[in-house]
């Protein structure tokens, strides 16, 4: 049994303490602890937190190993204090069968840096036409609980309803990439005065908000759990807040790039011309991330995490060479999703806060309790 003694770590409440971790469980806390044979870690100036969980990463394996692999992704996660990552399904082949999700999960276990929880596709090949093997993936060794066509929207209302109903049978979650495909055909940047002036096809806020509004109502109607991926407009925040106030089981995340990059990117990439900056900043951005993030931070018990959406240099340079589509490249890169934060005191086996590594063994509990925690903290949150 591995014994670790952490000296002088600061807990989230600000107090400094020693922590004794035995067999992955915090067994003792206090000052001046000592134990024979323990590995001592000097944590002076460091903060002890439970292992963080990223609900939205792209590990790109199988199929796009040039961008990222399970190994590189989980090493990055561990370096940032994340002990569990959810890997999105848009790989090649798509994670729409038990075989693929089991492979991804086992690769994570084999490397041992972080728990990899594969996310299964909602529809076969992310095509939005018929349901994928949701039940088989759920009962596989990967025990998939979250299903998402991320990168594509499940836009067919009937299919979305069926998916929500189906995952509700084992209390799974559908994570929706909220983007009405018809409203965003050829879209290149947020719709507004600036997109009109530049002649770039606009991406209206309503394309996201309408899907979220529909899906929270569907989730309510069938009593299922819904998660909204990379929410990016103030209107979406309003819809989710309304849904939460009604007791609809919905969670959401916010990422930095999907909200604020296009404008900033354009401002920096625009040739230096008189008045260029003023014109760019003149554009009123309904869906500025700052606003969205501030609202989320103020209203919801959420925490920020960082995960990557890696891509290869080849893809980036190819995209850059097509100037009309250049704003889309801002979608690639770093993002920082908000996601439900599990406070240390609610983590099984982590009664008083522990190191990331130690906590990883406790996560995720078999029944997907992380979402359950979200749910509890939601009801305790002020909805003003």
């Amino acid at each position: 049994m591995t014994t670790i003694l952490i000296r002088g770590a600061r807990l989230p409440d600000g107090t400094a303490t020693d922590l004794l971790v035995e067999g992955g469980v915090v067994t003792e806390r206090g000052t001046s602890l000592s134990r024979d044979g323990a590995t001592v870690i000097d944590a002076d100036g460091l903060v002890a937190l439970p292992g963080l969980v990223d609900l939205h990463t792209h590990l790109r394996e199988p199929g796009f190993e040039a961008s990222e692999t399970v190994l590189t992704g989980t090493r990055a996660a561990a370096a940032g204090g994340f002990t569990a990552v959810h890997a999105m399904a848009n790989t090649s082949p798509v994670a729409d069968t038990a075989g693929v999700v089991e492979q991804v999960a086992s690769l994570g276990a084999q490397h041992g840096y972080a728990t990899v929880r594969p996310i299964g596709a909602v529809t076969v090949g992310l095509a939005g036409e018929r349901l994928a093997e949701i039940g088989a993936m759920s009962h596989s060794r990967a025990a998939v609980r979250v299903f998402s066509d991320d990168g594509k929207c499940v836009h067919d209302s009937l299919l979305m309803r069926r998916a929500l109903e189906y995952v509700a049978t084992f209390d799974g979650v559908i994570a929706q990439h909220a983007q009405d495909p018809r409203l965003t055909e050829d879209a290149q940047m947020n719709e507004g005065a600036l997109s009109s002036e530049l002649g770039l096809a606009g991406w209206p806020a309503v394309a996201e908000e309408a899907i979220i509004a529909r899906d929270v109502l569907l989730a309510d109607a069938v009593g299922a759990r819904l998660h909204i991926c990379h929410l990016s407009t103030a209107g979406s925040v309003e819809v989710v807040r309304w849904a939460k106030a009604r007791g609809i089981r919905v969670t959401a995340e916010v990422t930095r790039t999907t909200c604020c990059s296009p404008s900033r990117w354009w401002r920096t990439r625009r040739p230096p011309m008189p008045g260029a900056t003023t014109r760019a900043s003149r554009s009123t951005r309904r869906c500025g991330v700052t606003k969205t993030c501030r609202r989320c931070a103020r209203r919801w018990p959420t925490a920020r995490s960082i995960s990557s959406r890696p891509t290869t240099h080849h893809i980036r340079s190819r995209r850059r060479s097509a100037p009309g589509r250049r704003l889309r490249s801002a979608w690639w890169g770093w993002k920082a999703p908000f996601r439900s934060f599990r406070p240390p005191w609610s983590t099984p086996g982590c009664s008083a806060g522990t190191t990331s590594r130690a906590c990883s063994r406790g996560y995720p509990p078999r029944s997907g309790a992380s979402q359950g925690t979200t749910h509890r903290s939601r009801s305790a949150a002020p909805h003003t």
């Binding site: 719709e191 507004g192 005065a193 002649g199 008045g275 100037p323």
Partner: protein, 319 residues
């Protein structure tokens, strides 16, 4: 002037300078030998990634009247159909030694990318980028307006107080975008007219007035009415129910044409859909300056090529 990419950044003095240089170029056309040796030995490359008749021929004629050598490239039948990118194509042509590139591309921002990326050293003239800008078209429209209103006394004048109605598919029109900024800079009042589906989001922040009723716009007796082309592909994309309804509501038919003020001029950037946005009678009437626009286009493009290739500031030439 290093490049000509957009009319948004043109200042009033600069724009008037370009128009005045174009007046000089127009005078050349009246000579027995309508040709200047100014750009002898310089090479102009016309890079047309999108189909074009009048703009390409106009630039070609302009360059030739200034004695420049012209190489013309069309995407059809070139390596672009094999997947060659804008960067590679531009660098390939630049490597053959060109001094100016005239670029038409389907992507908004293409000209700015080519000018600002450092891929090539040549001067870049935007001949239409996606639905963004088509600055030489706006300049030739301003020139035509000025010439029609002020005749021989137009040199050095702006368009102060001139009222222009731009009618039709503003949403997809680089001509409208270029004209809005240039004509406003020159002091004109621009009114955009069209169905809400074809007016851009946020048009309220533009320096224009917006009207959805063409009859009301005609009743206000504008000095010029500019009909925009309705592109075939828009007709089946739910921007309006069908062609007849569009034509009835926003087309310049004979009946509407009769109600136009006696001194209102009719403009169209071409190519026209006769019977859709403009009737044949209106297009061929004496008040139509559509062919003058084409003629003036050559003068404007001569002026622009001269200014970018000589690096002259149009304000100094005008002064």
């Amino acid at each position: 002037m290093r490049h000509l990419l957009s009319t948004v950044d043109l200042e009033r003095d600069e724009a008037i300078g370009i128009l005045d240089v174009a007046e000089d170029m127009a005078d050349v056309a009246t000579r027995a030998v309508p040709k200047l040796p100014t750009l002898r030995g310089r090479t102009v490359a016309n890079l047309f990634f999108e189909d074009s008749t009048r703009t390409r021929l106009s630039f070609e004629a302009a360059a030739k009247r200034l004695s420049a050598d012209v190489i013309t490239f069309s995407a059809k039948g070139s390596s672009v159909s094999k997947g060659e990118s804008l960067k590679d194509t531009a660098q390939t042509i630049a490597a053959m030694g060109v001094d100016a590139v005239v670029l038409r591309h389907a992507a908004s921002g293409a000209a700015e990318v080519l000018a600002g990326s450092g891929w090539i050293d040549a001067a870049v003239v935007n001949a239409g980028d996606g639905t963004h800008q088509h600055p030489t078209q706006a300049l030739l429209d301003a020139y035509t307006l000025r010439k029609t209103l002020h005749g021989d006394a137009s040199r050095g004048r702006d368009l102060d107080g001139v009222r222009v109605a731009i009618v039709g598919d503003v949403l997809h029109s680089r001509v409208a975008r270029s004209n809005v900024w240039l004509l406003t800079t020159l002091g004109a009042h621009v009114q955009l007219v069209g169905p809400r589906t074809l007016l851009p989001i946020g048009v309220g922040t533009w320096p224009v007035t917006v009207e959805t009723d063409l009859d009301a716009a005609i009743a206000a007796r504008p000095d010029a009415i500019m009909m925009l082309r309705v592109q075939q592909e828009r007709m089946h994309a739910a921007f309006f129910p069908h062609e007849r309804e569009y034509s009835n509501a926003w087309g310049l038919g004979d009946e509407r044409f009769a109600r136009l003020g006696a001194d209102t001029i009719v403009m169209h950037p071409g190519p026209m859909n006769r019977g859709l946005e403009i009737s044949a009678h209106a297009a061929d009437s004496p008040r139509s300056v559509i062919l003058d626009q084409v003629t003036n286009g050559v003068s404007i493009r001569m002026a622009v090529l001269y200014l970018v290739l000589s690096g002259t500031d149009p304000r100094e030439v005008a002064a």
